[in-house]
Symmetry: C2
Subunit: 438 residues, 2 copies
């Protein structure tokens, strides 16, 4: 079926839901994939790309012929175009832009300057806009004559501008129902509607839609010219992506998502760059053990407990990191409130550290028979749990304050410091009471 | 201001944005918090609760007087009511339901039977519904007479039912614009619209809205009676929450989110239940070290590398877990495709394991001077990286297939198995070539 049979492919795909389409295409290699996309009408190809992850869509369009790619891009809405072109190779993006009609290319260029997490990267230009001088019946006629084109638009509101394209009002479409047909629409519009600028970041957009029940908000430039509308669902979608990316980053998948269809070298390289930093930090922390080799060789049982202390402190610390990240994203904590967070964490750390310390102490005493071994590992784990939750709770706030991404850097920082402290506590305490341990 | 001055509080809060309100109230203790809520008009109190996290809102309403709580609940939309009552203590929820007007209580009860991740838990009953026999001008009159009540509704579509309340059509409001006022609305409706059942899970809702450009979809019961509408933004919101919860769960915050305003014991207990399982798994894994104490006491340098091997294998494995979780949620991989995922992972594991193994081997040789120590730790780390990515990539699929939550269980399972294998590899190899290491 992949050998050039356009109608066969189209029929086959049309029987599948969009999710199964994505799954089916995900199994093809790149060459066949591109073949399928070019065989299909541009509109359907655009629809398929819409259901792929953005990373995957960008990869594919990168490997298409420029003319095919440009045809597909023309079928997309303005926010999709901006997203896609932002993810492409610069060369390919430039070639596609040159293949587009000049006025389309200009407007895409304008939006591509904004990132996905700004209003400018999320807005759609496909909105109903009328001059405020239009009459009610003119608007109704335009709507009925262009019903096909407006089918996919959000038609709850129309946006009214003056002769300079400046936003002057918003017209709820239902107001048209109750209006006299010969009135100017300006009579039934909402004057001076709320609007935002194209540079508004995602956080503030989320707050905006939290505060207002609108489904969309008009975006204006510095001269109050109407650029387009950001819809609530675009903001929700980007928020989901941001949350999912934070999860990936915290687990060491940095620099955008990884799909198993990506080239092996790219996947290995990206994972490895994060692992290399971690192994260096790890080797640094393990240096503490090397310093105490003498103690360790005399009380070899300690070696059993070192990985336990390291892992458990990591677990406790990561819980605190997760809560801080969540409170930051909910806006329940400010990056400056480190003391408050710290006080909340040490109380939990004291309880959990005591329980975990007691547990590991009992295991040590039962296994080894020496109560002092239990004392050393129990006290060390308890103290290190306190350290771990203190660092885990406050480091995300600190990183945020310093302008770093807490999702990426909190984990490695946390485990390195807690490992060092943990090894130091166990082996330092053991050295101090070495006579009772032997 | 907290001492009973309702107007003062209202003025103060009204000056703040909703996010700052949440932050300000988050700083109050429970008693003052409740006082503020009861002082405000119920409608404003409902608005404030809407901006709190659900956990926090539930906590507060739990501690309000039943009559105050019921007044606030009445001001909420049906999906908010279902959410809130599902999160309350059973006793408090029951008392509030009894305090509501009987017909309200019945409809809330019906929706509360569905969880947040089903269509029934996400639908709103506040929709425009008309009998299909209504005439266009009757609908327009109803709309204009109830403009105030309908202000917050999504008024892009009205839903038409027959005399038995069964869904028969959907009426795009703009069609009213072009219709003759004396026609029945049935003439301009879309017949047999797509609808879903109240039990549809979140995954399928996401797929549905991926596949269709609708802003909402009508929900019907088994007899095709219209229950309400699920909006796209409710689905997007729940998806964000699910992604954020997966992040929390993977870091050991289980059983719903934790906020630092919650009681200390609750926070400590919930974190501890997860830590306890982990420490037992950890102690089990460390048992492998205890078996090889003889080897370890002869080559004490090995103790330095055990935590490195354990940590790094955890890192590599977690990357694979994260990619699998992501591909599962994107629908790009089926839980049965374990072999395909495994093949994709071992190729990455081979590359990254070799690099990491070489790195740690060089460090060992430079530090200790014995090339065989480098060989042992290098080969062990390389092999264990392969094991870690194999387990990390496939375990989420397996857990999902068996009906467990991969976000909760993947991490602990992964680290336990990789720790055991890692310790066994290092110490087993070292024992085999003990003569060359001493």
């Amino acid at each position: 079926a992949e050998a050039g049979d356009a109608i066969g492919v189209e029929n086959f795909l049309s029987k599948l839901g969009p999710n199964d389409q994505a799954l089916a295409l995900n199994r093809l290699d790149e060459e066949h994939y591109c073949a399928v996309l070019t065989l299909l009408p541009a509109e359907e190809a655009a629809e398929i790309l819409r259901h792929l992850s953005e990373t995957q869509a960008a990869e594919l369009v990168d490997s298409l012929e420029v003319s095919d790619a440009a045809a597909i891009v023309q079928e997309m809405t303005s926010d999709e175009q901006a997203d896609l072109l932002g993810d492409l190779d610069d060369d390919q993006a430039e070639s596609i832009l040159r293949a587009l009609p000049p006025e389309d290319a200009a407007s895409v260029r304008e939006l591509a300057a904004y990132s996905d997490d700004q209003a400018g990267g999320l807005l759609v230009r496909e909105i109903l806009r009328f001059n405020q001088k239009s009459l009610v019946h003119e608007v109704i006629t335009t709507l009925s004559e262009n019903a096909e084109e407006f089918r996919d638009y959000d038609v709850q509101y129309a946006y009214l501008t003056d002769d300079d394209e400046k936003l002057v009002g918003v017209l709820p479409m239902r107001n048209l129902l109750f209006a006299k047909r010969t009135d100017p629409v300006a009579d039934i519009m909402i004057l001076d509607p709320l609007s935002i600028t194209a540079s508004m970041p995602l956080d503030e957009l989320r707050d905006f839609f939290d505060a207002h029940h609108f489904l969309g908000v008009p975006v204006v430039d510095d001269n109050h010219k109407l650029l387009g509308v950001v819809h609530r669902n675009a903001v929700d979608y980007e928020s989901t992506r941001a949350a999912e990316n934070d999860f990936l980053k915290s687990q060491g998948i940095i620099g955008g998502e990884e799909l198993r269809t990506m080239p092996l070298w790219q996947r290995a390289k990206r994972r490895l760059s994060w692992l290399s930093i971690n192994i260096l930090l790890n080797i640094g922390a393990a240096g503490v053990i090397a310093v105490y080799q003498d103690t360790l060789s005399k009380v070899i049982a300690l070696a059993v407990f070192l990985p336990i202390i390291s892992d458990m402190s990591g677990c406790s610390g990561n819980q605190a990191v997760a809560v801080s990240m969540r409170e930051l994203s909910l806006g329940l904590v400010r990056p400056t409130e480190m003391i408050r967070v710290w006080l909340k964490e040490i109380s939990v750390g004291l309880i959990n550290g005591s329980v975990l310390g007691l547990l590991v102490a009992i295991v040590a005493v039962v296994w080894d028979g020496n109560p002092y071994l239990g004392l050393v590992v129990g006290v060390a784990l308890c103290a290190n749990t306190l350290i771990a939750v203190s660092i885990g709770g406050t480091v995300p706030l600190l990183l945020k304050r310093l302008g770093f991404d807490p999702a990426v850097a909190s984990g490695p920082l946390l485990t390195t410091v807690t490992d060092m402290c943990g090894f130091f506590l166990v082996l330092g305490l053991a050295t101090a009471m070495l006579e009772r341990l032997i």
